[in-house]
C-alpha cells in the first residue's frame, strides 16, 4: 500500500511486476532515505561550519580542539548499526530471490552470442521472447553455449549470470500482465546491447491458449528420450533406463546419490556433469567406465537429456501450464515414451 503511494510519487522507478519487486523497492527506498539523510546532514553541517568559521582576518589562529573518543565511538557505532539493518533486510529479500521455489513451472534458457533461446517443458521454443502466465512461479534453468551472459528483468528486479559449463537458476512470479524488457547484463562481445527482448506476462487463459497454439514441437523430455537412444546411453543404462552396466536412471533425479567418494544430490547440475564429466562423481558399485559426451551434445540437447531423466523420477517438477498443480499430487510416474523424430537442434 505504502509502496504503491511511493511509486506513484517518485518518478523514475521502473514498472514493478513481480512478487518480490516491491520488496526490493522497499529496501531501495530505505537505503535512499538513509543516504539522503546523511548526505544532507553532512552537507548542511559543512556549509554551516564553512560560513560560520570562515577566516575573518588573515592572522587568526583558532584554538586547537582535541579529538574525542566518545564522539568517535558514537559515529562508528551508529553507522554500523544502521548498515547492519540494511544488511539483514537486504539478505532476507535476497534469500527469497535466490532460493528456488517448490512447484514452479520450468523454462530452459540457453544464452548464445547474441540471442536468448527459451524452451518450455511442453516443447515450445522462443527466441528473445518469453511468454509466462501471471501468478505462477516460473523457474528458469539457464546456461550458455559460449561466454558469460546475464539475464536481467528490470520489472522483476532480478538478474542472474548464465555461466558456461554449469546451470544457474532464477525464478520469479509475475503479478501484472504486460510486456516487459529483458536485457543481457553481462558484457558478452560485439552485439551485447542487442541481446535483449521481451517477456510477455499473460492472463492464465491467454497463456494456455498461446501454449496450445504453439504445440507443434516435441517436449524436451521426448527429445531427450530419443537422444538417449541415439547416443547409445541405453546400451549401459538399459532400454527402459532400468540399468545394466551403469546404474538405473529411474528415480535418480532429486534423490541423494551415494558415490565412491561421498554423496551428492542429483539435481540438474549433477545430471549435466554426469554426462559431460562422468568420472567426477561415480555411483558406488560402478566402475569409471562411462565415456564423456563433451563436445558431442549441444547445451540444448543436454537440457533435453536432463528433462528426460527428470521425467523418470516421481519427484519431477510439473510441466508448463498456467495453473499451479495441487500440491502433493505426484505427476505421472511413467517415463515419457515418445519416439518423435524431431531434431532437437534447430
Amino acid at each position: 500500500m505504502l509502496m504503491l503511494l511511493l511509486q506513484s510519487w517518485i518518478p523514475f522507478i521502473p514498472e514493478s511486476a513481480s512478487t518480490l519487486s516491491d520488496d526490493v523497492d522497499a529496501v531501495y527506498f530505505y537505503i535512499s532515505g538513509v543516504t539522503v539523510f546523511f548526505v544532507t546532514l553532512i552537507s548542511l553541517v559543512i556549509i554551516f561550519f564553512v560560513i560560520r568559521y570562515r577566516r575573518r582576518n588573515p592572522f587568526e589562529i583558532p584554538r586547537p580542539v582535541e579529538g574525542s573518543t566518545k564522539l568517535e565511538t558514537l559515529w562508528s557505532v551508529i553507522p554500523l548499526v544502521i548498515s547492519m539493518t540494511i544488511f539483514v533486510w537486504g539478505a532476507k529479500v535476497y534469500f527469497a530471490q535466490y532460493r528456488p521455489p517448490q512447484h514452479a513451472m520450468e523454462v530452459y534458457v540457453v544464452g548464445k552470442q547474441w540471442m536468448w533461446k527459451f524452451q518450455h517443458t511442453t516443447g515450445q521454443r522462443e527466441i528473445n521472447e518469453l511468454h509466462v502466465p501471471v501468478g505462477r512461479k516460473v523457474k528458469l534453468i539457464m546456461t550458455t553455449e559460449d561466454v558469460i551472459h546475464d539475464l536481467f528483468f528490470p520489472a522483476f528486479r532480478n538478474k542472474m549470470d548464465v555461466v558456461p559449463g554449469k546451470y544457474t537458476v532464477q525464478w520469479f512470479e509475475a503479478t501484472k500482465p504486460g510486456r516487459y524488457h529483458f536485457f543481457c547484463a553481462e558484457y558478452c562481445g560485439m552485439n551485447h546491447s542487442g541481446m535483449r527482448g521481451y517477456i510477455e506476462v499473460m492472463e492464465p487463459a491467454a497463456f494456455d491458449n498461446w501454449l496450445s497454439g504453439n504445440a507443434n514441437a516435441a517436449s524436451p523430455a521426448a527429445v531427450g528420450h530419443s537422444l538417449y537412444e541415439s547416443l547409445g546411453c541405453a546400451s549401459c543404462h538399459g532400454a527402459n533406463a532400468e540399468g545394466g552396466r551403469g546404474p538405473t536412471l529411474l528415480g535418480v533425479f532429486g534423490s541423494n546419490r551415494v558415490l565412491n567418494n561421498g554423496t551428492a544430490k542429483a539435481d540438474e547440475g549433477y545430471v549435466r556433469e554426469s554426462i559431460i564429466n562422468p568420472q567426477a562423481k561415480v555411483v558406488t558399485g560402478f566402475g569409471p567406465i562411462m565415456p564423456s559426451f563433451q563436445g558431442q551434445v549441444t547445451e540444448e540437447q543436454l537440457l533435453s537429456l536432463v528433462a528426460y531423466i527428470k521425467s523418470l523420477s516421481t519427484t519431477q517438477p510439473e510441466t508448463t501450464t498456467a495453473k499451479p498443480p495441487a500440491t502433493g499430487t505426484p505427476q505421472s510416474a511413467n517415463p515419457v515414451r515418445s519416439s518423435s523424430p524431431t531434431s532437437p537442434n534447430r
Binding site: 548526505v39 553532512i42 559543512i46 583558532p62 580542539v65 579529538g67 540494511i86 535476497y94 532480478n158 562481445g189
Partner: protein
Amino acid sequence: MEEFTIQPPRTNYLNAEYGIKSWLLTKDHKRIGILYMGAISFFFLIGSLYAMAIRLELLTPQGDLTQSSTYNKMFTQHGIIMVFFFLIPSIPATLGNFLVPMMIGAKDLAFPRINLLSWYIYMLGGIITIYALLAGGVDTGWTFYTPYSTTFSNSYVLATGLGIFINGFSSILTGLNFIVTIHTMRAPGMTWYRLPLFIWSHYATSLIMILGTPVIAITVLLLAFERLAKIGIFDPALGGDPVLFQHLFWFYSHPAVYIMVLPGMGVVSELIANFSRKNIFGYKFVAFSSLAIAVFGFLVWGHHLFVASQSVYAGMIFSFLSFAVAIPSAIKVFNWTATLYKASISYDTPMLYALGFIGLFTIGGMTGLFLAALATDVHLSDTYFVIAHFHYIMVGGTLLAYLGGLHYWWPKVSGRMYPEGWGRFSALVVFIGFNLTFSPQFVLGYMGMPRRYHTYPVEEVSWQVLHVLSTAGASILGIGLLIPLIYLAWSLRYGRLAEANPWQLPGLEWQTASPPPTENFIETPIVREEAYEFAPPETKEVVGKFEREKPFPFYG
C-alpha cells in the same frame, strides 16, 4: 610561527641541471614526480577523449556514431587507461613521489634508482598498451572476464595484458620505496604519530600495492597462458572455471579501488587541516582507518560476484563484510567535518576541491551501500548505477583530490602561484559538470539501463533524457578540466613568484624554498611538534562536555 625567507638567486631542483638527459636520468624524487605528472596527464587526455566519444554516442538510443565493435573498444580502452594508467598512479606517483620525502624531512626516497626504474617500467607498460590500441584495440571491458577474453575476443588482448602486467611492477616498486622510506628515513623527532595524514594514507596504499598487485600480475599471466596455449584454467570447454577468473581479478581490483582513493583521502586530510588552520580532529582514528581499509579491503572482493553464481551464503558473508569495511570511510568523513568546527576556514581553490571531495565521496560511499545490500545489488549490478557509484568515488573523489593537491602544492612544485580567481571558478565548473554528468546515471541504473550498452530501447524515453543530461554535464566537466590545464601552463611562465611558505603552514615541505633545492632541506629538520600544530598545545580545547583524551604516547 617561524618564517624562512630564502633569497631568490639560488639553485633549486629545477635549475640545478638542464637538458633532456638531466631529466631522463634523474634520481631526484621531485623530478621523477614531474615525469610521472607529464605521463599521467597524457594518459588522462586520451582516456577523456574516449569518454567524450562514449557520451556522444549515447545521446541517441541508436548506434549512429560508431559501430558496436568500435564502441566496445572505446569503453574498454577508456577503462583500462583511466584505471591502470591514470587513477592508480595519479596521486602516489606524482604528489606522493614529490612529497613523501619532503613531508618526513628526508632528502629523497630510500631507493632513488628504483624510483626512476618504476617510471621507465610505467612508460614501457604504457607504450605497449598504446601500441595495442593503435594496432586494433581491445574489446573485453577493463575487467577482462573469461572465457570472452581467453577464447572469444579477437582483439589485442595479449598486448594489452602485457602492458598492464608490466605496469604493475611500477606500482609494486613505488609501494616498496614508500614503505622503506617511511620506516627508515623520517627526520629526527618525526615519530609515527607526528606524521602528516598524507603519509599514513600513502603507507596504507603502499601495503595494498605490494600485497595486491602480484595477484593481478599472476591473473593476467594465467589469462595469457590460456589464450596462447589453450591450457584449461578459466574456459570450461578446456576444463577450467570462468568464475575463478572473477575471484582472482576482484581479489586485486577491489583493494585496487582503495589504491585509487586512499591517497586522495590523504590529500584531503592535508587540505582540510591546513586551510582551516586546525589539527585534524581524531588524528589517530583517521590514520588507523586508512590501515583498516587497506587490510579489510582484501576481504570483500566477493561483492562483485553477487549475481555471478556464487553461493547464496558466500554472498551473505561478503555483503556483511562490505558493510563493515564502509565504517572506516564514514569515520574519516565525520572527522573531516568535525575539524571544521571552530576553525579558520579559507576559501582558496584547494579547499574548495577538498570540500567538494567530502560531499561527492560521501555520495559515492553511501551509494556503495545499495550495491553491498544483496537485494538491491541483484537489480543494480552491471547497470549504470554501478557506473555512477564508482565515478562518484574515482572522479568526484580521487580526481578532485588530485586537482586540489595540485593547486595546493603548485607553488612548491613550480615556484609560481596559479591565478586564484580562475582556480575557484574552474573548481566550481568541475563540481557542477561532474554532478550533472553522473547523478542522472544513478536513476538510469535503477530504471534498468545496463552498462556497456551501445544502443538502448527507443521506447524508454526517460532513458534518453537522462543520457542527454549526462552528456551535457560531461561537456561542462570537460571545460572545467581544460581551464586549469591552460592556466597552470600559463603560470609556469607568468605566474607570481611563490614564497617558500605562501600559505603560512607548519608542514615540513613548507619550511624550505619554493621550488626546493635538490636535497630538499639545506639542513636536516628536527621535528618538535605534532602535525598541524598551528597554536601551542596548551591552548587546546576540549570538545563539548567530553573528557580530555590522553596525550599520544610519543607526545612531548
